[in-house]
Symmetry: C2
Subunit: 457 residues, 2 copies
């Protein structure tokens, strides 16, 4: 069989860095969401671009699927090898290769995780701002075009990645982009590979844009009696052009999970988590402006989190919200939605979603990167109960279809993976077919993470 | 012949909006640079996406080249129909289709020019920040991934374009992206078409990101005795993270042209043109910070341009620098270079370039969007003198090769067109071949602006 022959050919090159042990394969057969697991036939831990190219060349010859693996924290089944094959685990390619402080960029291998990257940057006065909930790998974050709580200020992986090294399906190694801040030199291949979820090529090196650690930082929470007031506070803040660093919304149910999981005691009300960054004067100006807006919308006033340790505790708890939400129903899995709409439609999108949920038996806490118009519901289901699964699918589909109708997207940051592919035609129309044409050009044998993003395979 | 049969088939559909008159064809046979003209066989002025699709379908059947046309202000020969065919002139598709003030975006047709777009936005409190020297069309700016003086703060067309409608070579119409601020829904086709110079598809509609008109604006100039001091002032300003809106460098020769062309009387020294935007307090803080940096580098102090009319006059004159430079040698054409390097290499790139110029008989004023690491030389040549042409090519090649060696790009904002294609292999290596593969997939008959960007055709 083609997969077996690829593994047989690769085995002598990798020694104990190729494993077919059941436990190892099980580890690489699922991500953190509700999707049905499927095991790879083997797992390989490469150490170099050359080794990745060898795997690609060999697998391409034998028609053996390759699924790149970072930390397995994706939420749409991206890393599940639905057609078997090789899971290419990048945890041993996790180095910082070069820090260019003067140019505010860094060159890394794909396996490095975001928290360690920032630890390694600590002495430089620079930081990397993209912060999905999980401590994901940078390669995986680029592959899924991840964002997080700071995207409203600093952008997503789309803005953060300046250049890439990519191994193509046939083993060719290309470099895209450069360390220059802008370029008009041909097609933007960097942006094509960012968000391609391992279906167009395998990322083996990334050059990332960094930002200066701000002189002053201030964080606060602000509770509202009504969801609509919280949302309108966000909309006005964005429309005023306040360069807010973070503006996150948690509904009452999420706050309940947050309190229980992280040991807080906040009122169980829709609550904004805010962070202001800049000079001392800039932070004072921003927080005053937003304070006035919140007051006009009956916000209960800012609860300041002034000391750095308190702030870190708050945001670290916020990053664990997915686990906090799941704790609301022990044993449940979160079926997570991820829509993003133009900000003028955000209130409508959230309020209509709440009506859907009122009419559903499911518990579904909400959390949102609302400054971008992006919010998530975690529909808490027993993944083994087909009725709950299908109810989650029904509600999820309504939310996704609404986002498309409101001029938005079914996925703001989690990616397509297995879960969102069914909406691609509705969202993209004929452009989805064009994505398929590009895929077949770069991966004619369909070995790169088959079954994801594009039509067919 | 294939071109003739396409024109014959299209003629009845377009009436007097299809012209084969010599004078019209001559107008569409060149851009503003030194490249050798070549006339299209016909010019068509479409009024709708459907008409563009008809042209594409027909030309694809007959193998007739199509070159989209905005204002003809490109600088690398992009609009020259090197294989003849049809020049598709978008000047009659120039409407603002929708302004979404709450979402800070606008939907436009490709033919609208940047100055009129901003005039139409005046009442909204919003503006579109991308400002190349020419009053270019928005479609052309997207096609060449243009930028300008504000890119250091607001980004380039790469950041400005949220969504597109594109007619493909075979006449299919696709929509890419959405009005949501971020998305992880598949391949970023928007970014693939931005910068593709009409070689992958024909842009028929654009959704653009807008920004709020700042509360306070302050502009200044600052002269330096030595180029290196000016450049180091820029580098430190960027590294300090000052959110400066504009920071432009003109060398002594450019100032001379500027003075003569625009009626100023500035000292003929390397000079920075700066603009600060934000709140009153923010502008004061930024200008104080940059003032201290400039002083440390022996800047002569800020000459403030405080009244809006004075500011507009200054920036409008700055936008005409290409013409001002050409006035230094009446009858000459500017052979313009466009390299962009990591900012840490900017001083090196400029100083070594000056050594090249000292050793050359050519006059070549310098101007730069130096906050991005991007600068231009206008090598002023008599385009009919083969010796001067080849000297310009020699010096231009040295500058381009140096940029690649320093980790940069041969074109920061003008695009590839005819002039920079010869450097694509050196800059991109195997990735250039990948661009060609994508081109052949989307345009298998090679009718879309043939002879540009990719290998072959």
């Amino acid at each position: 069989m083609s997969i077996e022959s690829a593994i047989t050919e690769l085995a002598p090159h990798f020694g104990d860095r190729l494993s077919q042990a059941e436990s190892v394969r099980e580890q690489h057969g699922h991500d953190e969401a509700h999707h049905r697991p499927r095991l790879p036939d083997a797992v390989i831990w490469p150490h170099s671009t050359e080794e990745v190219a060898l795997v690609a060349r060999t697998c391409n010859e034998h028609g053996c699927p390759i699924v790149p693996w970072g930390t397995g924290t994706s939420l749409e089944g991206h890393v599940i090898p639905v057609q078997g094959g090789i899971s290419l685990d990048f945890t041993q390619m996790d180095k910082v290769l070069a820090v260019h402080s003067e140019d505010m960029d860094v060159v890394v291998q794909p396996g490095i995780q975001r928290i360690r990257l920032n630890e390694e940057l600590r002495e430089t006065g620079l930081f990397f701002p993209v912060d999905p909930g999980a401590d994901a790998s940078i390669g995986g974050m680029a592959a899924t075009r991840a964002s997080g709580t700071c995207a409203v200020r600093y952008g997503t992986m789309r803005e953060a990645v300046l250049a890439l090294e990519v191994v193509l399906a046939d083993g060719r190694v290309i470099r895209t982009g450069s360390r220059a801040r802008k370029s008009a030199a041909g097609y933007d291949l960097t942006k094509l590979f960012v968000g391609s979820e391992g279906t167009l090529g395998i990322i083996t090196e990334l050059t990332l844009r960094l930002h200066g650690v701000p002189e002053a930082v201030a964080a606060a929470t602000c509770a509202f009696e009504a969801m609509e007031d919280a949302v309108n506070t966000v909309i006005e803040t964005i429309q005023m052009g306040v360069p807010i660093a973070r503006i996150e919304l948690l509904d009452a149910l999420s706050i309940k999970g947050f309190n229980g999981h992280a040991g807080y005691d906040m009122p169980e009300l829709p609550t904004l988590f805010l962070e202001f960054q800049g000079s001392e004067a800039g932070v004072a100006e921003q927080s005053e402006t937003v304070g006035v807006i919140a007051e006009e919308h009956r916000g209960r006033g800012f609860e300041w989190t002034t000391r750095p340790e308190e702030r870190n505790r708050l945001w670290s708890a916020r990053h664990n919200i997915f686990y906090a939400q799941q704790s609301l129903r022990p044993g449940a899995k979160g079926y997570v939605t991820d829509v993003c709409v133009p900000i003028s439609r955000l209130a409508e999108a959230i309020l209509e979603t709440n009506e859907d949920l009122d009419a559903s038996p499911l518990i579904a806490p909400l959390v949102g990167h609302v400054g971008d118009g992006n919010f998530h519901l975690a529909l808490l289901i027993d993944p083994d109960d087909p009725a709950e699964r299908s109810e989650a699918e029904r509600v999820g589909a309504r939310i996704s279809e609404r986002a498309i109708r409101l001029g938005g997207t079914v996925t703001g940051e989690h990616g397509v993976g297995l879960g969102k592919r069914k909406f691609m035609e509705a969202e993209h129309g004929e452009a989805w077919a064009v994505m398929g044409e590009i895929k077949r050009t770069l991966d004619p044998r369909g070995i790169l993470n088959p079954g994801k993003i594009v039509p067919g395979n």
